[in-house]
């Protein structure tokens, strides 16, 4: 499943639609501690987290994850929204808990393949 297909699936709210929509989502990945995220997030991951600030975006760039999904109703603060726009990073949000949000990505990507 690509980022574009995840957008079209319409299961999460779209906070920012970035570039590279053709990027393949490799797997969902859940983590909130950024020191772990920056070393463990797989390339192409749909990264599910509750941390919504500029550092989340910086970690995404470092790891080449495909997109961010903010779970549990977490939101991006204003500077982070600006940065996501500048850097063309796709960010979703959802009221779902972290596990359920990741499970949605898993189910969608397996239904698509």
């Amino acid at each position: 499943m690509t980022v574009e297909q995840l957008l079209k699936a319409d299961v999460f709210q779209v906070v920012n639609q970035g570039g590279h929509l053709e990027q393949e989502i490799s797997r969902p990945f859940c983590c909130d501690l950024l020191s772990i995220c920056m070393t463990k997030t797989p390339e192409g991951a749909a990264w599910v987290t509750v941390i919504g600030n500029v550092n989340t975006l910086a970690v995404l760039s470092l790891t080449d994850a495909a997109c961010i999904i903010l779970a549990e109703g977490a939101f991006l603060d204003e500077p982070a929204i600006q940065k996501a726009k500048e850097q063309g990073i796709t960010v979703f949000s959802t009221e779902l808990p972290i596990f359920e949000a990741a499970l949605k990505v898993y189910e969608l990507s397996h239904a698509a393949s």
Binding site: D32, L33, L34, S35, I36, C37, M38, T39, T49, I51, N53, V54, N55, T56, L57, A58, V59, S61, L62, P79, K83
Partner: protein, 140 residues
């Protein structure tokens, strides 16, 4: 590549909105130069943790990156308060970061341990009240 390439970045104090810019810039440059993805990952992680440390603990500072044929050297220089107990600071899980930093997803005491883990060499030169210089090397 016969000559060294030197890069310098200023890290402003308490400015989380710019933290990570230096490391992502270096990452881009290394990619253009054809450095191996494994080495780029190591440099990016170590440098980003270093940047965050400088913002949290030391009112910023500057970073010097030297790229040669054999290695990448990253020197993090600050004029912060210095590290009281380097041995403790190197322990995973030990942190003196305030709560507001923890709320941002950092401050779990993994910065320095990550920096050591992802580099081939790391030295800490610190003096209380004067500042800290962390020098890291990643072999190519």
């Amino acid at each position: 590549m016969s000559e060294c390439i030197e890069l310098r970045y200023e890290v402003s104090s308490e400015d989380f909105t710019r933290a990570g810019e230096a490391s992502s810039n270096v990452k881009k440059k290394l990619k253009q130069m054809g450095v191996s993805p494994a080495a780029i990952t190591k440099v990016a992680i170590a440098m980003y943790e270093g940047e965050i440390n400088m913002v949290i603990h030391a009112d910023g500072g500057h970073i010097e990156v030297t790229i040669s044929e054999e290695e990448i050297e990253i020197k993090l220089c600050d004029r912060g308060p210095g590290i009281q107990n380097v041995e403790k600071a190197m322990q995973a899980g030990y942190s003196t970061a305030p709560d507001n930093i923890r709320a941002l997803g950092f401050g779990a005491g993994m910065g320095l341990p990550n920096m050591k883990k992802y580099t081939d060499e790391m030295t800490i030169d610190t003096e209380i009240g004067v500042g800290t210089t962390v020098t890291m090397k990643v072999k190519l």
